[in-house]
Symmetry: C2
Subunit: 536 residues, 2 copies
């Protein structure tokens, strides 16, 4: 898209989009007020020249030079994802866990060549898409039993290879980022409509490997639901499923690949179900005096069979943090979109669900119709807006020595009240104890007929050089509360390395053993992204 823009070597996103010192100063004031503490100091941002990097343990072998890069810059850029500990370590200049080199696969043959060499030489391979993992999914620390570690960057494989306009499906290479694949689909009036917060940087392969959550608050909540077939290169060869709209032929092969986080192989391409670009949209907001009423409204809408594209519930603090003026109330954001004409009746019924739940005010519905071109332009404009700004704020907070992160889960409706209460209490308590202060906010990002996916944000004061331990304590408390109260350790952020202790408790033990058996079959040398999902 904009090939001349540079990604920050340590922070979220584009280097030129990081908060300026003035913006950080404003943010410091805001956060100080929010937490009732002194505004944090606006520390200078780090430069790549100060990054400390380890010496590589292995060098690029003969035959792989064409697509491999052992430069410091490449190694630094592939050391971390964008989890809180990654930001902290990156900010401090610690790149001691850099991969030995980076492979930029141009096509599947490069992938196969690299995996063959790695398996033979006991070199760990960490597949790398957008490098936006917030769970340690691309961490290059395989341990001493490997002679080295290579980061396998898929971003040169970024093409939409085929479009089936009749079936509304497209064959897309795994390295395509959101903007790249959307631009190619837009030429046919189509769209994947998978818009995670990392959309600008993350790749289709990464979405598939991590079961990423997207744009739709209902129905197509995960990328999983859009997969028609998938192709993965393993150390034992290619694994490719048949393009099918539905099947009952044995356990789903796709579902073994989706969520495998690079531990079984490298997803290289997939057929995805796409949509015609919406030409009709309607949005509305429902305001609620109490959180209970608001949750009740979200449940009613999710159980009414309406399938809104947006059904996001922000608590009062979350609304405030996101600049949505609610006068201290909770707000449910509703949206319907269609490429097939108006859906007014759908929105009307969703609004009446909100009234039944006790909404104190309804704003909208506001309807926009647009031709395909306008739709495209407004999309772009919208996505350069506030939603994509969130992770930049986190990086800025880290740069000012704050402990700031998000975590998310999903649970059934009957479990939600106690989960919400327990998580709120646990995180608030530990922030107070460890950091002296802190705020926590909650929104529902996705809703299902049988339960919501709550998403929490916390901010607490910290000190440069001592950020990781308080963060780990908060993360531990949150994760324990989630697991103890019927949640999943992740609804759409993935397991990676960060969530392993709780994932290991959540999943059936016999499933863990099954997955390990599959890994031994597909990756007998155990070189694929060791450390995520399971241990040898």
């Amino acid at each position: 898209m904009e090939p001349t823009r540079k990604r920050s070597f340590w922070a979220w996103g584009w280097e030129d989009a990081l908060l300026s010192d003035d913006e950080r100063a404003q943010l410091a004031q805001m956060v100080g007020g929010l937490l009732h503490v002194e505004p944090p100091a606006v520390t200078p941002l780090p430069t790549i020249e100060r990054a400390r990097i380890n010496a590589p343990r292995i060098s690029v072998p003969t035959g792989l030079e064409d697509f491999c890069d052992a430069s410091d810059r490449a190694r630094i850029e592939h050391t971390y994802g964008r989890a809180f500990p990654d930001l902290v370590r990156g900010f401090s200049g610690d790149f001691s866990r850099a991969p030995d080199f980076v492979a930029h696969a141009r096509h599947e043959a490069d992938v196969a060549t690299l995996l063959g060499w790695a398996a033979e030489n006991r070199v760990a391979v960490v597949p790398y898409g957008g490098g936006t993992s917030v769970v340690g999914g691309v961490e290059c620390a395989p341990g001493e039993r490997y002679v080295g570690v290579v980061s396998l960057d898929l971003r040169a494989m970024d093409q939409v290879l085929e479009v089936d306009e009749r079936s509304l499906a497209a064959r897309i290479q795994a390295g395509a980022t959101g903007p790249l694949l959307e631009a190619q689909l837009a030429e046919k009036g189509l769209t994947l409509r998978h818009f995670p917060q990392s959309f600008e940087f993350s790749t289709l392969g990464g979405w598939l490997a991590t079961r990423a959550g997207g744009h739709f608050a209902t129905l197509y909540t995960h990328i999983d639901d859009k997969v028609e077939s998938v192709r993965m290169i393993t150390p034992k060869g290619a694994f490719e499923s048949r393009r099918l709209p539905g099947s009952g032929a044995g356990p789903s092969p796709d579902r073994l690949v989706i969520g495998s986080e690079g531990a079984l192989g490298v997803i290289t391409e997939a057929w995805l179900r796409v949509h015609r670009r919406p030409t009709w949209r309607s949005s509305a907001s429902a305001l609620f005096d109490t959180w209970q009423q608001a949750v009740d409204a979200a449940r009613r809408v999710s159980q009414a069979g309406l399938f809104p594209s947006n059904c996001r519930l922000l608590d009062a603090r979350e609304a405030m943090l996101n600049g949505v003026p609610t006068g201290g109330r909770n707000v449910l954001l509703l949206g319907f979109e269609s490429a097939d004409g108006p859906r007014d009746a759908w929105m009307a019924r969703a609004i009446s669900c909100c009234r039944e739940a006790g909404a104190s005010e309804i704003e909208g519905p506001a309807v926009r119709t647009m031709d395909e071109r306008a739709s495209r332009d407004r999309d772009s404009a919208a996505w350069r807006g506030s939603f994509l700004r969130g992770p930049y704020l986190q990086s800025a907070l880290v740069s000012m020595g704050m402990v700031a992160d998000t975590f998310e889960t999903a649970c059934t409706w009957d479990a939600f009240d106690s989960l919400h209460t327990a998580v709120t209490r646990a995180v608030t308590d530990v922030m107070k104890r460890v950091c002296g202060a802190g705020v926590l906010s909650c929104r529902l990002t996705h809703v299902y007929p049988d339960g919501p996916a709550p998403y929490f944000t916390f901010i607490a004061p910290g000190t440069h050089g001592a950020l990781l331990e308080p963060w780990a304590e908060i993360k531990r408390a949150a994760s324990e509360a989630v697991i103890a109260n019927g949640g999943t350790i992740t609804h759409h952020h993935a397991v990676g390395r960060t969530h392993r202790p709780w994932y290991d408790r959540q999943r059936p033990e016999l499933f863990a053993r099954s997955l390990a058996a599959v890994k031994r079959e597909l990756d007998p040398a155990w070189v694929m992204n060791p450390g995520v999902l399971l241990d040898e």
Copy 2:
């Protein structure tokens, strides 16, 4: 429900619901006219007294007597499913492949005890739900390397154990048949709304093990989509997933169990997403002069984001066979249902899709509103009607020496025309060559945005004593055409033993090896339903 009714020992369904001699004579006339052949003779129906059964190779071991039954009646009743070859063999009195005994598990402990004993003694275990498999899924022919084979009947485990009305979910034992679980859910105003044609007899466990297709033509097409969590007893212990409305934590454990066809363990219970009972329904029919127009209409409806509960397309012959008067035209049956008030706008848009595709006539929409009680009664009435009658007709045709069966698939829309043409030609040709005549009809049972699930019925003349070979030739021709033209060997009938040759070609080879690795982990003695899905 009606415990005094007896199942036929050889044919589909209730003994007292088999076609009478008069009805068979009428059917013979109809089929003779359809095929332009002499009406087949109305042969007398078989009696169980004439059934020939093998001597058991093993007897019920000490400690298992309480729930095991080695009587001839029990063994005969558990010898076959209800595939065409099962009906033929059952009609002829051949029960030489009867299991050595039948275990009627009362609770999970019985399952675990039986599996432990079987694994230790190299006895094959064939899980048995409703015994309605049409793909050889309950065939008791494990081969010489087993000392014997036991049919494990789950039907004593038939309770709805818990209902979560807030989340709309229920924990249900695997042995519950459709009517039994619906009756228990109805007490709370709820319904699973999974209505396969086998609904009266088949069980939740069977549906899960085979990825059964149900009532909904869109959205919730398979039982898969309703699973919140599942519990399976394997020879290595219990495998139970967490109740979650959605998750992104690694590959889905549920999806490994769903479709495993008893090869990994015995599903004993599951949490299923249920619905409030619909109180509003609307139905309409759209008639099309050409098949192309009708298919185009089905595609338009499926891609419009309307999610009708019914969207079944019958070709002219299928309509005639099902007693739907269309004057030689194709008919698309549309239905919407809701527990949340009217959905008129949805139906209106679906009808306009049909008009856009060239419908020559629209009948309806006809709206019915009903209170919960009325809804229940009309449901029952409807389901005792024509849909459930189909398999009885097949049994009657077999009793008169006809070759009559169905097969089904799914493919993307872009592949459908050539698949439909190739299947029609292949099956018609082979019927003509092998049987001298024959008719084939097609309907779409389920539609997805990216493709339909076509369902074919064929009827050809045959001869008692020589039915299996022509059937196998037709089945082979159909399956080859399906696989060669981008279809799945099964959309919702499962793989079993019948579909193995084509399933083996369809699935990724590395998935087959993965599945075998999982089986070695969970069932190292390889005693669970050997022969389905994979070989040792």
